[in-house]
Amino acid sequence: MKIVGILMALVGWLLPVMSLPYTQSVAARFVLAVVGLIISLVGILGVLNQAHLKHAIWKS
């Protein structure tokens, strides 16, 4: 799951960056940037962090 979380963080970053040449619309770029940010945050704070918490030191 840690790898999935990291991959989500990367995809969320690359999505708005790679789409820059394909649209000139500010609204479309805004939406893509926000969606990308949400994907990255979910990947880090949700998926990756949960994977760390599964074996947290205070559970042992």
Binding site: I6, A9, L10, V11, G12, W13, L14, P16, V17, M18, L20, P21, Q24, V26, R29, F30, A33, V34, G36, L37, S40, L41, I44, L45, L48, N49, H52, L53, A56, I57, W58, K59
Partner: protein, 562 residues
């Protein structure tokens, strides 16, 4: 002949009349313009000696009498003359004026850099005060040595990666040797990735302007590094800290700083993709604090929480720091140093709109003030007491948030940005502590990470379009405007910068941290952690005359009292 003789007089009369008429006509044409004044003397050649009598420079006898009023010091006598035989020329005066401008900018940039360097002391005592006494030596030593580790890595390669392709830096005389950016063409556009001039500050980068730029950028980088020592305090192995700091000073920080400040692809989003003025980060909410805060999050997740921070059910325990006095003193030192951080980021005080330093300093002051207001009010309302450490964090949060927009916003904008930051840091600390269950002893992730991102975003909202730093920013003419002042595309550029920090820099930091964890191990042993890291890691207690008690045990005096 007779005919000529008879008509001679009439011919002469006719010619005379014509000449008179022509003269009158010419006179009529020249009447509207005033008679020409005495011809102005030609402008002196830049090479010819100047008449210095009007300057009335004091004689050596006058100067020998002293100058208590300061009226005789700093006159024509003090202009450097290139050829004493010839005397002072216009060229001498012009060169002196140019050098004076650069000298003002050098002095400004160096002195503000010195202020930023002093922030290391502020960070050191804030973090140490917020940790327990048994880890004070270890925490202090991390903050002390991060300066050396970071400086060394930045001199070796960090500076070259960051600024090696960003010239010209006009306020510092150009620093033109920093002109080699590694650029790839991708999706039909140039993408600057990293600089390649300036390794070891040698070769053509052995240059006075480059040195000034290095000093200023180096202390910024060190600020980012010291953020991580706070979030990982009280359980980080010293050797892991050392390696991590060198990597961050050599690679992580310079890479993002190049993209934002060194002519890299983020700064060119405006020129290449019509997104406002590209990613704008005046003094580093994203570059410095965002990178530091995001790296702190990545390493804190890898290292895990301190023993005793969470119960078996996952409920957080408060672990108070040992000295609130040095915490708040450190906050004041940091607020003082921030007057170097933000106003100094003009890289000069003369020309190119640099007189906006007054506005930048006031914005910095205001946001810090409203940041502490926001935090103290939030804590007072929510918990019934004005919490001291969170008030300090509120001040820092306001300062972090105003760092990126300080050069672009009005005082009202800065006050709003600051108060939002003050509330945001409290909410974020609770979220990180209770929901994410990521242990951050000093609140560094919230102060620097969360509010660093908020500062970057606020440029895209509050930039008011009044700043003018030489007529353009990031190669796009005109002034930076945010969404509230008519440019939505600037907000998109800022969001892409935030996405790069969250997605790209986090991944890099996490990957490097994970590799270090596998090779050398990031976390101190449980026994060392319970004892406190001062003796196991550093070999000496910070407070040897204090009686330190292990958690869960009581000192003899307490037993006797029972």
């Amino acid at each position: 002949m007779k005919l000529w003789g008879q008509n001679k007089i009439s011919w002469l009369l006719t010619v005379t009349c014509l000449l008179v008429l022509c003269g009158l006509g010419a006179l009529a044409q020249t009447q509207p313009t005033p008679p020409p004044a005495a011809a102005a003397p030609p402008p002196p050649s830049t090479d010819s000696p100047l008449d210095l009598k009007p300057a009335a420079a004091p004689s050596s006898d006058d100067l020998a009498k002293g100058d208590p009023g300061g009226t005789k010091t700093g006159t024509a006598n003090d202009v450097i003359v290139s050829d004493t035989k010839k005397g002072m020329t216009l060229a001498d005066v012009i060169n002196q004026a140019g050098q004076n401008r650069i000298a003002i900018n050098f002095t400004w940039t160096l002195v503000t850099g010195f202020l930023v360097m002093f922030m290391q002391a502020g960070f050191a005592i804030v973090e140490t005060g917020l940790c327990r006494a048994k880890n004070a030596n270890h925490t202090m030593m991390m903050n002390f040595m991060v300066y050396g580790f970071g400086l060394f890595a930045f001199w070796v390669c960090g500076f070259a990666i960051q600024m090696g392709g960003g010239a010209p830096y006009t306020t510092l005389g150009g620093a033109s040797s920093l002109n080699a950016e590694h650029v790839i063409t991708f999706l039909g556009k140039p993408w600057g990735l990293f600089g390649t001039h300036g390794f070891f500050l040698s070769g053509i980068t052995y240059d006075v302007g480059v040195m000034v730029l290095f000093l200023f950028q180096m202390v910024f980088m060190d600020t980012a590094l010291t953020i991580v020592t706070g979030s990982c305090a009280e359980r980080w192995k010293y050797v892991a800290f050392a390696v991590s700091s060198v990597f961050m000073g050599a690679i992580t920080y310079p890479l993002f700083a190049n993209w934002a400040w060194g002519g890299g692809w983020l700064s060119q989003l405006g020129a290449n993709f019509n997104l406002g003025h590209g990613y704008c980060d005046f003094a580093g909410s994203g570059v410095v604090h965002g990178v530091g805060g995001i790296t702190a999050l990545a390493l804190s997740m890898i290292i895990g929480p301190r023993l005793g921070k969470y119960t078996r059910e996952g409920k957080p325990n408060a672990i108070p720091g040992h000295d609130i006095v040095i915490v708040l003193t450190g906050c004041f030192i940091l607020a003082f140093g921030w007057f170097g951080f933000n106003p100094g980021s003009t890289l000069g005080a003369s020309g190119n709109g640099a007189l906006r330093i007054g506005s930048i300093a006031v914005n910095t002051m205001l946001a810090g003030c409203t940041g502490s207001f926001g935090a103290i009010l939030y804590m007072w309302i929510r918990y019934g007491k004005p919490d001291a450490s969170m008030s300090g964090n509120g001040l820092l949060a306001g300062l972090v948030a105003i760092t990126a927009p300080s050069g672009f916003v009005s005082t009202v904008g800065s006050a709003i940005i600051g108060i939002i930051a003050g509330v945001l840091v409290c909410v974020s600390v609770e979220f990180v502590d209770r929901v994410l269950k990521v242990d951050d002893p000093v609140g560094a992730i919230s102060v620097h990470g969360t509010n660093g991102l908020w500062g970057v975003l606020s440029v895209g909202l509050f930039a008011d379009g009044t700043s003018n730093y030489g007529g353009s920013w990031n190669g796009v003419s005109g002034s930076v405007r945010g969404l509230f002042y008519g440019d939505a595309s600037q907000l998109v550029a800022q969001l892409i910068g935030i996405g790069t920090l969250v997605g790209g820099i986090f991944t890099l930091s996490y990957g490097a941290g994970w590799i270090m964890d596998v090779i050398i191990g990031q976390r101190a042993s449980a026994a060392d952690e319970l004892e406190g890291l001062d003796i196991p890691e550093m070999g000496a207690l910070c407070y040897p005359e204090f009686v330190l008690k292990p958690e869960g045990l009581r000192v003899p005096s307490e037993v006797a009292a029972d």
